[in-house]
Amino acid sequence: DAGVTQSPTHLIKTRGQQVTLRCSPISGHKSVSWYQQVLGQGPQFIFQYYEKEERGRGNFPDRFSARQFPNYSSELNVNALLLGDSALYLCASSVGGNTIYFGEGSWLTVV
């Protein structure tokens, strides 16, 4: 079975641009969450969605937004990119809140 899949795997953007990251959860998983991991640190929670509804939001500015689609896939959007947004963006999915599985991530570099 496919795990959590994310795209793109790597991308480079310029300050001020906008980026969209995509995530497909494991089949049957209705919960999707997003994390940002800056180099050398632990992941930081950004959003959680369940059945297309936002269930939680971390301490991130309004430039960050997300949504979940009827097929449970999800997109994370970041507007007006800053250099500090450079990070690994991880998507995770779960069913029932036990084991939470992470995708391989999207490496974002802002120049």
Binding site: Q48, R55, G56, L90, E104
Partner: protein, 112 residues
Amino acid sequence: ELKVEQNPLFLSMQEGKNYTIYCNYSTTSDRLYWYRQDPGKSLESLFVLLSNGAVKQEGRLMASLDTKARLSTLHITAAVHDLSATYFCAVDIKSGNEKLTFGTGTRLTIIP
């Protein structure tokens, strides 16, 4: 605000030795997770601990949870080089909340 602290931050140990990584957290929690991360890679789930006194083992790794002390440990037995990685604990305050707060990570290096 929930705080999760791990120690040590860096650990260099010889093959064959035993050691323990500690994870302390500041608020009552329903569940605790341990993950492994190799350089440039994503997070691999190791253990989910769901109740006080829970102990789980997989190969040379064993994790335990003491919710009263707000402490989890990850014990490594007879370390081998393949265990070199960064290990994170993460806490979920509310069951099913799935808003994980991660510790700082412990970078483990096993020396042959």
